[in-house]
C-alpha cells in the first residue's frame, strides 16, 4: 500500500522547505522537495551601483550573511578583472573559515544531533562511564564526570518538571534511535558546550568584519580594514593576537569534541552509510586563495560525475572556464516563466500554479551542470579533494574513516561517504581541515603585515559598455555563485545560484530529480506519523531554504506539520 507523507512548515508569509514522499512497503518510492517561498530577491539589485550590491546581497539570508557579501564582491571583481591585495584575501579567508566553523558546529549539535540522540535515554546514563568513554575517544579537557553529571541534571530537572521545553517535539523512543544512554549524554553535553565555541568562532568574524550579523568591511577591490600596527581603531597586533587566541580556543573543540563525536555516532549508526546517497554528481569550487591573484587554493574544487572519483575534473580557478559555460538554471518545474537559462541571462518571473506532482511545484529553480543535477556541500568538497590527492583532505578523511570503522566494527570506505551519514562525516572532516587552515591563514596575514605590506584595497574602475562576472565561494552548504552583468557601471542582471538551490532543486526538463529528492528514495520509514528517517536525510544537507523572513507568530503556526495522506 502506498501512503503519502507531507512535511510542511506551515508558515505565515514565506514557506520554507516542504517535503512530500510516497512510502511503499516501509520505504520511500517517490519524493518531491518544494520551497514555498518566492526567491526573486535578486531583482531588487537591478539598476543599482555594483559597488554596493554586497550590502544588499548579504541580506538575502539571515544566517549566511557573509557568504553572500563575499560572493557579491568577487563577482564584480571578476567582471572588472580586478585583483585584490593579499591582506584582503587573508582577511576574507579568516572570515569565511570562522563563519563556516560556526555554521558547521551549529548544524551538527543544534540542528541535527537530536535526530540521532534520544534525549530520554540521558537520565539513565552513568556520568562516570560516560567520562571514561569520552576520555577514550579524545583528550578534550571538558570530559569530566562532573561536566556530564551537570548536563544530566539539567535534563532530569526538565523531565521531572513535566515540561520538556526544547525537547518537547522530538521523536523520542523512535525505533530508529539506538545510542546507549552514555553516548547520548556525551553528545548532549557537547551540545551545551557547542554554544560557547560557535560563539567564539563568530567573534572572530565580528572582529574582522566590524560586527555580526552583517559584516561591514567588504568592498569591491578588497576589504575596508585599515591596517596600522601602531594605531587604535584599526587592525592592530593586539587584535591579531585576540583573533589568534580565539582560534586557539575553537580548534580544540573542533578537533577533540566535534570531530570525535561525529565519528563515534556515525560508527554507531553504520546502516546510514548505505542510505540516502542520491545524486552522485558532485560539484565544489576551489576556495581560500593563498595570494592576491588567487592562483593557488587551500580547498580544491572540481567535478565528479556518476561517483567516479578516478575521473575527477579539477578546477584551476575560482570560476573555471568550464564552470562558467556549464551552469544553467531550469525553470520547467519551478513557478517561473521560461525554461532553461544561463545565469547571465537568468529570468525570475513568477508563474505560480498549485503544487502539481507532474507539473510545477516549487519556487526553487533547477540548476544544472552540463544538464546534470549536482550535489553540493561538504561531501562534494571532500570527495573532489580526496580524488585529487589533496593532502589535508586525505589526512582528515582517512582519520575519520579509521575511527568510524573501528566503532562500527566494519570497514567504512570513501565511497560509502556518498550517503546520509557521509554528509555528516564530511562536514566534520571539513571542519577539522578548516581548523588547521584557520591557523595557517592567521599566520599568513600576520606575517604579510609584519613584512611591511599594509595594503587592503585596489580601487575599482568601471568601463563603459557591458561586462559580465561570476563570484564563487565554497560556502558551508556548498558551491555559491553570484552572476552579474554590468552596463555603464550599473547592474543590469544579478543572479545568485545558491547551494540549497542545487540540492533542493526540483525535477528538470528531462525529468531528472534533484539531490534532496534522489537522496530520499528508498529511505526507510518505520512510522509514517513520525518520519524521523526522512528528517535525518534532509537535515544531512543542512537545508537553508528561507533566505528570508522571521515574522513572529505567537500561535506557533510555523510548526512543521507532518501529514499522512
Amino acid at each position: 500500500m502506498t501512503s503519502r507523507i507531507k512535511i510542511d512548515p506551515i508558515s505565515r508569509i514565506e514557506g520554507h522547505l516542504r517535503i512530500d514522499a510516497e512510502v511503499d512497503g516501509g520505504f520511500v518510492s517517490k519524493a518531491w522537495a518544494s520551497c514555498t517561498m518566492w526567491r526573486g530577491i535578486e531583482n531588487i539589485l537591478i539598476g543599482r551601483d555594483p559597488r554596493e550590491a554586497w550590502l544588499f546581497a548579504q541580506r538575502f539570508c539571515g544566517v549566511c550573511t557573509t557568504v553572500h557579501a563575499i560572493a557579491s564582491v568577487r563577482a564584480v571583481e571578476d567582471a572588472l578583472k580586478l585583483q585584490i591585495p593579499p591582506n584582503a584575501q587573508y582577511i576574507r579567508n579568516l572570515i569565511l573559515i570562522h563563519h563556516a566553523l560556526h555554521d558547521h558546529i551549529v548544524h551538527f549539535y543544534h540542528l541535527s544531533a537530536l535526530d540521532w540522540i534520544d534525549v530520554m535515554q540521558i537520565p539513565k546514563a552513568d556520568p562516570v562511564k560516560t567520562a571514561s568513554l569520552a576520555q577514550s575517544l579524545s583528550s578534550w579537557t571538558r570530559n569530566s564526570p562532573q561536566e556530564f553529571k551537570s548536563a544530566q541534571d539539567k535534563v532530569k530537572a526538565l523531565a521531572s518538571s513535566g515540561q520538556l521545553g526544547i525537547f518537547a517535539n522530538g521523536y523520542w523512543g523512535h525505533p530508529a534511535m539506538h545510542l546507549s544512554p552514555e553516548v547520548s549524554l556525551l553528545g548532549f553535553t557537547h551540545y551545551l558546550q557547542a554554544l560557547e565555541f560557535q560563539r567564539k568562532s563568530n567573534q572572530i568574524v565580528a572582529i574582522l568584519g566590524g560586527k555580526t550579523p552583517h559584516i561591514q568591511n567588504m568592498t569591491v577591490g578588497g576589504v575596508a580594514n585599515a591596517i596600522d600596527l601602531d594605531s587604535l581603531g584599526t587592525l592592530t597586533m593586539d587584535r591579531l593576537q585576540m583573533i589568534r587566541s580565539l582560534i586557539d580556543e575553537v580548534i580544540p573543540f573542533v578537533h577533540e569534541a566535534y570531530f570525535p563525536d561525529v565519528c563515534a555516532i556515525a560508527g554507531m549508526y553504520p546502516e546510514w552509510f548505505d542510505i540516502g546517497g542520491g545524486v552522485n554528481n558532485y560539484l565544489a569550487v576551489p576556495d581560500l586563495p593563498n595570494d592576491g591573484s588567487a592562483s593557488h587554493f587551500d580547498l580544491p574544487g572540481g567535478v565528479i560525475f556518476s561517483g567516479d572519483r578516478n575521473a575527477v575534473k579539477p578546477f584551476k580557478s575560482a570560476a573555471d572556464e568550464e564552470f562558467r559555460q556549464a551552469v544553467t538554471e531550469d525553470n520547467t518545474r519551478a513557478w517561473y516563466k521560461g525554461s532553461v537559462f544561463h545565469p547571465y541571462k537568468g529570468q525570475t518571473n513568477p508563474d505560480y500554479t498549485d503544487f502539481q506532482d507532474n507539473g510545477k511545484y516549487t519556487w526553487v529553480k533547477a540548476p544544472r551542470y552540463e544538464w546534470r543535477p549536482m550535489q553540493v556541500g561538504p561531501l562534494s568538497n571532500i570527495l573532489v579533494g580526496y580524488a585529487q590527492g589533496h593532502p589535508l583532505t586525505r589526512k582528515w578523511t582517512d582519520l575519520a574513516l579509521g575511527r568510524i570503522s573501528a566503532v562500527a566494527k566494519r570497514n567504512v570506505t570513501v565511497d560509502q561517504l556518498q550517503s546520509t551519514m557521509g554528509r555528516y562525516a564530511a562536514r566534520a572532516i571539513r571542519s577539522a581541515m578548516l581548523a588547521d587552515l584557520a591557523v595557517k591563514h592567521c599566520e599568513l596575514l600576520t606575517n604579510n603585515i609584519l613584512s611591511g605590506d599594509v595594503a587592503t584595497h585596489n580601487p575599482p574602475q568601471f568601463p563603459k559598455g557591458e561586462i559580465e562576472g561570476v563570484g564563487t565561494h565554497e560556502a558551508p552548504r556548498g558551491t555559491l555563485s553570484h552572476w552579474v552583468v554590468i552596463k555603464d557601471a550599473k547592474l543590469v542582471n544579478y543572479q545568485a545560484v545558491v547551494p540549497t538551490t542545487w540540492n533542493a532543486s526540483p525535477r528538470d526538463i528531462q525529468g531528472n530529480v534533484g539531490p534532496y529528492e534522489a537522496s530520499l528514495m528508498r529511505n526507510p520509514v518505520a512510522d509514517p506519523e513520525r518520519p524521523l528517517e526522512l528528517l535525518r536525510t534532509v537535515h544531512s544537507f543542512d537545508p537553508c531554504m528561507a533566505c528570508a523572513c522571521h515574522t513572529f507568530d505567537p500561535d506557533g503556526r510555523e510548526i512543521a506539520r507532518v501529514k499522512v495522506l
Binding site: 531583482n43 531588487i44 544566517v63 526544547i166 528570508a548 515574522t551 507568530d553
Partner: protein, 184 residues
Amino acid sequence: MSEVLIAGIGNVLLGDDGVGPFSVKVLESQYDFPHNVELADLGTPGLDLPVYLLGADAVILVDSAKFGGEAGDIRMFRKQEILNIPPSTRIDPHSPTLRESFSLLELLGAIPREFLMIGMQGGRFDPGSGLSTPVRLCIPHIIDAVLRELRRLNVWCEPKASVKPPGTWWDSLRRNTTGKALLG
C-alpha cells in the same frame, strides 16, 4: 550595571519584515543610551539567536508579527508567553526560533531576567518594497514602547541634541520598483 539588549529582528529587504531593524535605527538616531545598553540589528538570525541573547540581563526585541490585527497594530509578549508557544519540528536552521532560543537558554540557566517582545503586525512583505505606510506611521508607538520598558528597567536615555535621519540605507530600495513590478 546590568546589560540591556535592544534588538531588531527581520529582513530589511522584505517590506514590513524590516520593521525591527528600522526601529532600532530610529532609536539610534534619536537617543543617546547609557553604556550598558546595546542596540543591534540582528537580521534573521535563526538558530544563532540564543548566542546574541547570551549574557543580557534584559532584552527588548522588536519584530514583525502576525497575530491577525491590522498592519501597524502592536502586541507585547513577555517571557512566559514565548515559552507557552508550542515547539516546532525543525527542518532548516532559519525557521523562526525565538521559542527554541528561549528553551535553550533556559536549559543553560541563561534566560534573560527581563524580556519584552514588541511585535508589530505587518501588511506587505514583497522584496524591495520597504515599510508599508501603516507600519511606517506606527513606528513612534514602537519607540514609545521601548522607552517605557527602559524606564521600567530604570534605564534612562537622553534625546540627542541634534537628530539626524536614521541610517536606513536599505530604504533607497523603495525608489527602485523593479522587484515590485516583477511581482505584480
